[in-house]
Assembly symmetry: D3
Homo-oligomer: 229 residues x 6
């Protein structure tokens, strides 16, 4: 029987917003290259960059009923994360639901299925990351779980985990690790800034990262084209 | 032997234009969630929204000869709907054919295959919905049927059926039903406008659509997070 | 053991730039419809159009080490062409590597794998054609060959072959044929310009290309709709 | 509203059985290379070869209710042809439904979706051609049309059209053309038998089909390897 | 940093073996249609049916090092469940590893990646469910987690959860629910046996399941073919 | 213009047969994990294992004419390796062509496209590795190159390179390296036999390969389940 879990924990929005600023690639590196959704979950417009607390939702194939249930559980700063119980490309979210989510403070949607009304959503500036764009409407016959742990885009997501989404994709940070990951992300950014300056000035990564000896150990050889023919 | 059917019926352009105004998602709902092409048939630029009479065309794999034949059958307000006899990603339509179609009054192309010269087509504002973008050229050795019923993107399309295409995809309306579907679409739009206002103001779909009792009947339960751990 | 080949031949940049001006569709036709990469290798932003000498690079799955090695071999006017030894969607190139490549005079990247930091790359105007966008980072454990012949997107590419990339995709021109292909491409363009004018004026391809007799020979028949029902 | 059409026409089983004997490749050639379903519709066991009258059925995503409705419309010699209204990989048919279909005289199933209990179906010798094998069960909430024209595997199928299915895939023959196609298929088989004997004896297709002159006209040249290097 | 968790809980093998006897389709229904892996995870030979305790393992792309680490953690009745940290088709397991796993009492492998030496594995009768068959070998440079919770084929799996795999695919049963699910599965089987007998005897599901009234409520109409034309 | 290259070099059949005995996985390891075709090129029946000299052939989409041309160039011990100039799933080879190839001494076919008549081919024992099985027939309008270098399944293949194909897939060995690779493969096999015995007896790869220290260097930690909760 489907269940809705109320009063789930959430991550402090200050941490959430810090993770948004760091961006998906940096956050995913900062937590040991984990938590990335499958790369076919793509934004409907670019550029876009948000972070929020996961508001999780399971939907039946071709049936978006539980998203209506989820809206009531939304809080300011949430991102709806929805996954179908079996693969489905239908357009689960359109401009009506987007307007409703927006009115409850939801910042965007991540869905391992389809979305529609993308012209309107783009005009509204309401960002959605989805597997597909499809006008196909859905029925309301089979409710699913809301605010329970789910797997979306190949990643395990619990209510209140932090979802960061930008042009590169979507990453999930477990809520217990959010503060630590934010700190690591900010350090990583500082570290990269220095390297960026040197690389842009023409220095080689081979030298900056001291790679030459280790490459030689791996057996890398340099030959001249004329001699190799 | 391939055949070209002349003097096929068409739908009145006033109805066609009304369907364009309604858009793909609304039209497809208005005719009972039918007629949508596979969602991998995507526009080459966004936003785009057109409707027109289907000018149908079968092409051999890697061979666009019959599109040249189809151009002669075009009338003002048509949309070329082309499908290969077996799956093919080649670029069947480029800027030369687009210019030729435009000169005959064709409003755009829907093709279950590839298109090329997309930079030029975008600059011309000539919209194409295709499965893929590919520079691959085609030969002219094997003509196919023109203005016969075809299957495109998984949907049966006859000459003169109405094709509506926008950022959400493509839908086909049988010509006999076009007027009825238009009326249903317009009613649906009016109905949605009222709901949009309420949802945007923060009312819940659960209440607007009276879903709570029916969800309880389906067994939906609410539990508290702390108790569920 | 991995190898880096130095002092590989390159194509004169005047020819390279001529091929860029002609564009992918024209170049591929001019060399007999050969050399096109699979159409799922797509630009991260549009419009984009470049040509350059192939700077080739093999990468291990999930490992971008050899791209750092390749940077040192870059010359003004190169395009990095990278291919994984087995299919991989990870983000091999990000803004740091892009800045480094740019500093060495590289014009863009073609990769049969993933790219990340696409918002930054778009802002920089650094074009990349890739199979996928993914934030997934890579390790540096297994170097691969640099400046050896590779297969990328289904096409055989040698260092110094000309790579032309635009909104339609990517084509490779063998360096020995580059001058000849450029000439053929320019002739083709001139020829197409005349036809474009006639087609845009409403003349039919059936007449311009003298197709009617040959279509009849192939058995094409014209029937009237009312008689065919 | 969903509809069940009763007393649909069927093709004589003598013709149907003749088409089964000819097999899919021959039948599809005999009707001008038309009517083949997408090749990802595959048999769950091999070898298998059947033909029957199409008993058509639309199903909602994740919902097999209308197949139960279709069973009542079955007649001896039918093949159930089912298609979801949007793409779905769920296991719509299992051993219970197969037993029920078999009891009504149905010879097999062709479905543009999933099937389950394949070990049992294989043991029963009940052949199914499907897009996928999946244990995923379905609900019974949304009935679909039965015995109306549908598109399955990209092909338009009407009740009583002949479905031929074997290890090579599935082909549909319009019922009006079934007798003609059978005759053409049998002629084709006779013709091929003679050629098979000659080819197996070592004669070349180049000679049997008189291809040499036409190939020369197309510009085919023979060169020697040593001279071409 | 990668971690190996020792002394993880396991499910009693009597329960595990009961679930194997029930099979994947029945088990997945018995736990509310949950826990099924994506259907592209397929057995390398058929028929095959096993169940076991999940021995979980994360692998880097193109790198099977952690499977060697996992072997040491194996116990009699385990099934190795392996997932790459990003999508990879390489052949992570071959006959050497299979022999090693078998020697430790492992019953089979479920992997969201590739397998090789399938001829030898088939001869050994060692069952593997994989996404692909590939001879591509892997390196040993980057260890991953062993016996931690993972996502495999879109499903969350913890060490000691029960994995049931047969010709229909793979399902995971949380260890806390295994006994309950087994009971439900056995009841379901008993219930189905009675229905199977009636369906095989020609009774209709419409009658057995009392569907006629509910279908009428949903608006299902019966029409005669002649009248519908 | 298409060309047929005659009198191309071939590899000695004794070496070829030695490579067949070693099998695809071993041969690909023995040449440094190179030369493997994409894993979606699969055998139509299993088990199957052959090796032969590549008889290369390019085909136009939906057009198998050049295969007829290639048959004349065949010699005892060849394997036909065919690739379409753009992706195509049609059934290029059927039982007639297979009989003709067999009569010329050809051992099998590797094709990055479709094959048909698989029931007959299976009965004949004529092995084919293909991307798809499709009954779709082809035309004879556009000849392609025969016995020129091609890319098949993502791998560069020249006439007379050795093709090894078995249940794991297909690998190509450059003819200049065939003798060296055979020797390395045989050494690898001998080496593996000893390890197989130890692994099957229950020794751990961790010990046989001395992995423990290096894993510790990589940071692998062992923790107890109870402490990790």
């Amino acid at each position: 029987m489907p269940v809705v879990v109320r009063n789930t924990p959430r991550t402090d929005l200050e941490i959430v917003d810090g993770l948004a600023a760091a961006g998906v690639a940096t956050v995913h590196e900062a937590q040991g290259r984990t938590g990335l959704l499958r790369p076919d979950i793509r934004p409907i417009f670019r550029p876009a960059r948000i972070a929020g607390n996961a508001l999780t939702c399971e939907v039946a194939p071709g049936d978006n009923w539980s998203i209506h249930v989820a809206v009531e559980q939304a809080q300011l700063g949430d991102i709806l994360v929805a996954t179908p119980t079996s693969a489905c490309d239908d357009g689960y979210v359109g401009d009506l639901l987007a307007g409703s989510l927006l009115a409850q403070g939801v910042r965007g949607v991540v869905i391992d299925a389809g979305v529609r009304d993308v012209a309107a959503l783009t005009e509204m500036g309401f960002p959605v990351w989805s597997k597909v764009i499809s006008a196909r409407g859905t029925v309301k016959e089979t409710p699913g779980n809301v605010q329970t742990p789910i797997v979306c885009g190949g990643v395990y997501v619990r209510p209140g985990d932090v979802v960061v989404a930008d042009d590169d994709g979507v990453v999930v940070v477990p809520r217990e690790e959010a503060a630590t990951v934010l700190k690591a992300a900010q350090e990583r950014e500082a570290n990269e800034a220095a390297k960026r300056t040197r690389l842009n000035a023409g220095e080689l990564g081979l030298d900056i990262y001291n790679m030459r000896d280790r490459l030689a150990d791996k057996g890398l050889r340099y030959v001249d084209y004329m001699e190799s023919q």
